[in-house]
């Protein structure tokens, strides 16, 4: 058993503030409010200085005092510190003065930001003595749990809807995990998973380990601040499924300001969804914090297609409180966003990235993000995982015979004429 962390003190109910011990629990007994990790910032302040952070390895664990485990991380120790790319060509295309792309398409080991959350969840699962870990997912989370559990020697189960694309299924199966496909409507699958999580004493990363899991997303916010030269960006555009990533980036910026690691400057967070499943963005646009479930999500952005977002309410409050807003875009705009990012910056993102780019475009066009401002786009997963979304939509190779005459006639002369 590790000594308790002097920095991570308790779990705390987001509704009533009651404190709970750091166990595998996720809702308040009193009001069913979600539990969240709480820290002793006065203890962290003298230890976690810029110099201390800068002296550590380039992974998300350089901010470990702000992550909810007791001992040293044991799973996913190499995750994070992905590039923050200054995106001048995309800035020009979107019509904004300054733009950065936080590129989690190259996160280690499974090419999405989910490696951040899983790294924390499984490190904590081991501390709490779990031998079996599990999750229910439509893709990225399943891939990450399968890979990280394999490398940690933990047994794992990943539950998926029965009709998932082959690529995502293979991306879990290859790690030797137990992949269980479930037939049935989305809400029935949800109910089964919450019953399984309650029954078998497994570490379910996004159920009984959720308070730990969710905190991993903060590392994306910390890295953005550090990579910008220790400042909070004015505007951050973030894709939303459950809304957890957005609320955690908001929390991360607030914590860095509170610890004096960055200046306490104003900032705004903006949420991005696909129109075919936009419960949070639509509530935000209606001016309410009551999120109406979407029973049948219909979008190519499957990684964001969560009809009953657990953190929707909190995401709306984070956007409102910072003066941000939400946007949603059609499937055609998602494809256009993927292509624009690829053509401008050489970054191939999955559908969630297309959502983020095209929502940013709309936010800039409508003046919600000012053209003379500076923005960061959170690009959270790799395009090789969702190839079917753009197959046939990026043109075709031009086919020629192996002769120079053919090349000149069909390629070179046409291209120079067009130039």
């Amino acid at each position: 058993m590790d000594k308790p962390s002097p920095f991570f003190s308790n779990l705390k109910c987001r509704e009533c503030g009651r404190l709970y011990p750091k166990q595998a629990i996720h809702v308040c007994d009193f009001d069913f409010g979600p539990l969240e990790a709480a820290y002793d910032y006065d203890a962290i302040r003298p230890v976690l200085t810029r110099a201390a952070i800068e002296s550590r390895p380039h992974t998300m664990w350089r901010y470990r005092e702000l992550l909810p485990i007791d001992g040293e991380p044991t799973v996913g120790t190499q995750v994070g510190f992905t590039p923050l790319v200054k995106a001048d060509r995309l800035a020009r295309a979107l019509g904004i003065r300054e733009l950065y792309v936080k590129n989690d398409t190259v996160n280690y080991p499974t090419l999405s930001f989910k490696d951040r959350v899983v790294s924390v969840a499984l490190s904590r699962a081991r501390e709490l003595g779990f031998k079996v870990v599990a999750c229910a997912s439509t893709g990225n989370l399943a891939n990450s749990v399968a890979a990280n559990a394999a490398s940690a020697g933990l047994k794992s189960y990943v539950l998926i809807p029965a009709d998932l694309e082959q690529g995502k299924v293979l991306g879990s199966l290859v790690y030797g995990t137990n992949v269980i496909g479930i037939h049935g409507a989305y809400d029935q699958v949800n109910r089964l998973c919450s019953e399984i999580a309650g029954k078998y004493g497994w570490g379910f990363v996004n159920v009984n380990l959720r308070p730990y899991y969710a905190e991993g997303s903060k590392s994306m916010g910390y890295e953005i601040c550090e990579q910008l030269g220790w400042r909070i960006p004015q505007h951050t555009v973030i894709p939303m499924a459950s809304g957890s990533l957005l609320t955690k980036i908001h929390k991360a910026y607030g914590e860095f300001a509170r610890l004096g690691l960055v200046e306490n400057a104003p900032f705004a967070v903006y949420g991005a969804q696909a129109t075919g499943c936009a419960p949070i963005a639509h509530a935000m646009k209606r001016g309410t914090d009551i999120v109406k479930p979407v029973p049948k999500p219909e979008t190519i952005a499957k990684s964001l297609a969560i009809g009953t977002p657990a953190d929707g309410y909190y995401a709306i409050h984070a956007m409102k409180q910072t003066g941000g807003s939400a946007e949603d875009v059609t499937d055609d705009e998602v494809v256009a966003g993927i292509r624009l990012l690829a053509e401008c910056e050489g970054i191939f993102a999955e559908t969630a990235g297309g959502v983020t780019v095209s929502c940013a475009k709309k936010l800039i066009e409508t003046g919600k993000i000012p053209r003379d401002g500076s923005a960061v786009l959170c690009i959270t997963g790799h395009g090789l995982k969702t190839q079917e979304a753009i197959a046939g939509k990026c043109g075709e190779p031009r086919l020629i015979k192996p002769s120079l005459r053919e090349f000149e006639e069909h390629v070179y002369s046409k291209d120079t004429a067009a130039a």
Binding site: A136, L141, N190, R191, N206
Partner: protein, 81 residues
Amino acid sequence: MNEKQRLWLMFPTKLVTRPVLWELGRQFPVITNVRQASVTEEIGIVSLSLEGEREEIKKAIAWLEELGVNVEPVEINTIEG
């Protein structure tokens, strides 16, 4: 064997004024315990624990859904992206 389930209920406009939980308590041998509620003219959201035999809880949930109440486990979504 008794078990306890923690649920979020969402009532549509047409049911906001009907004493649904009172009716539920009369029809099924389950203990209802409201932990939090927010009711507007348009929508009612209630967090509720139901305690009783597993089969009775299942029947009570099916009855609520039949009426048009949206019933979710407290972990609103367990499936992630």
